[in-house]
Amino acid sequence: MSQRMPAIEKPVEGPRIAVELARLGALLIVVVLLQTVVAPNLRVLGANPDFVLLVVVSVALLRGAETGAVFGFVAGGLVSLALFVPPGVQSLVMVAVGFLAGRYAETADLSPSVAPIVTVFAGTVLAESLSLLAQFLFGRQVPVGYLFGHWFVPLLVLNTLLAVPIYVACRWWLKGARHVRLPEA
């Protein structure tokens, strides 16, 4: 279960880069549609799933910190624009989540069955904390009890439950992908 994941393979080059970009681009479109079209209609335990975070974490685990951060920035920006919310916040949050999830994958010993759950759990905590901070700076207030009981905890549970299925789907789509880990220096 706790086997160490192999180091990242030789970086993709030439035509493979185009294929890689196409796959990531398609994934981007799918996640934007999921978040803007499907998520608002999926209310479980009082929260809507955060597909953007789930996919950003999966991409970061599979492709590393840089790709995770860039994917998070673009996905966050597009979803914000489509949902009419201030566009920089979600981008900022998803850059942080994508980067840190990618760094975790690059530096830690990961078990493929546990890594998505742990990372999504931590990523949700981080993302919601940053969002809370941003909203606080915007002057929006929320009772802490309400936030935890009606939003944060349900979202945490829901995202964690969806972590593995979304990760598996992303791994299947980004064929040949595996947890990244930097080669030893």
Partner: protein
């Protein structure tokens, strides 16, 4: 090699963070017809038909879920009728949906004819096709846009009372910020009495009436309606809610008044846009 890679990684992340902050700054500093806002409107224009389709697909599931929830709460009292209920489930669910729609439509008709709005006021019927997926913003998307005459700041009501105001418009759809949104302020007054103040939303969905002078007498149970002050986007007399509690503290200049909205925002479906 690794050092180079680490440096590149830091540059990429720093650039993205700066870009995010820049985007946010531009968004808040530019006018509502600035480039970022225009891109935003285009995004909604593209996504709206998909949201509309998804809402239609999801509606039977929502209805079924609501019906199942209602049934569950009544089970203990109706155990002996369970078999019969199961046979009638489909029919009852359909009837409930039809009944609900009838009630909503009747309410909208009453609202139109209630003489709340100036003579010659025009309305646009609309259906809610999407809701905000985050707790931070209380907004819905409706399937009427500028093609139907909808404009930013048009008031939105349903048969129960005030729903909110239009905050963004594309040709086919509009975004409505609900009165329960934390950025929503509505000038209102209590009846009887006429104490005036501002209805303010919150993330929890509760409404508070603010800036009501301590000398004004307000008691629980009073009705709250829009006051229609000069320059307000809401005409006078649109029902907002009912006063649920009033708190007065010696150190406060104003009273703290909680208001329960008339509109059930969880089941919001059909609405009426009052065209300006």
């Amino acid at each position: 090699m690794n050092r180079k890679r680490a440096l590149r990684r830091r540059i990429v992340v720093a650039t993205l963070l700066v870009l995010s902050v820049a985007l946010l700054t531009v968004y808040f500093r530019e006018s509502s017809d600035g480039p970022v806002h225009r891109i935003e409107a285009s995004g909604l224009h593209v996504v709206a038909p998909l949201q509309s389709g998804a809402a239609r697909i999801a509606q039977p599931f929502h209805d079924g879920w609501n019906w199942a929830a209602d049934l569950f709460s009544a089970q203990s009292q109706n155990r002996q009728l369970r078999n019969e209920v199961q046979q009638l489930r489909q029919q009852v669910a359909q009837n409930l949906v039809t009944q609900q729609q009838n009630d909503e439509l009747r309410g909208l008709l009453q609202m139109r004819g209630a003489q709340l709005f100036p003579k010659g006021s025009r309305f646009a019927d609309a259906r809610v096709i999407a809701r905000s997926a985050t707790a931070w913003y209380s907004t819905v998307t409706i399937d009427a846009g500028s093609a139907a005459g909808v404009r930013v700041n048009d008031a939105v009501v349903n048969g129960e009372g005030l729903v909110g105001r239009v905050t963004a418009v594309t040709p086919d759809v509009s975004q409505v910020t609900l009165v329960t949104d934390q950025d929503s302020y509505v000038d209102a007054m209590t009846l009887p009495g006429g104490a005036q103040g501002l209805i303010h939303g919150s993330v929890t969905g509760d409404l508070t009436m603010e800036y009501v002078d301590r000398s004004q007498k307000v008691i629980a149970g009073q009705v709250v309606v829009t006051s229609g002050l000069k320059g307000s986007i809401f005409t006078r007399g649109i029902p907002v809610g009912r006063v649920s509690s009033v708190a007065q503290q010696d150190v406060e200049l104003y009273q703290s008044i909680s208001v329960v909205p008339y509109v059930d925002f969880h089941t919001l479906d059909l609405v009426l846009v009052v065209l300006s």
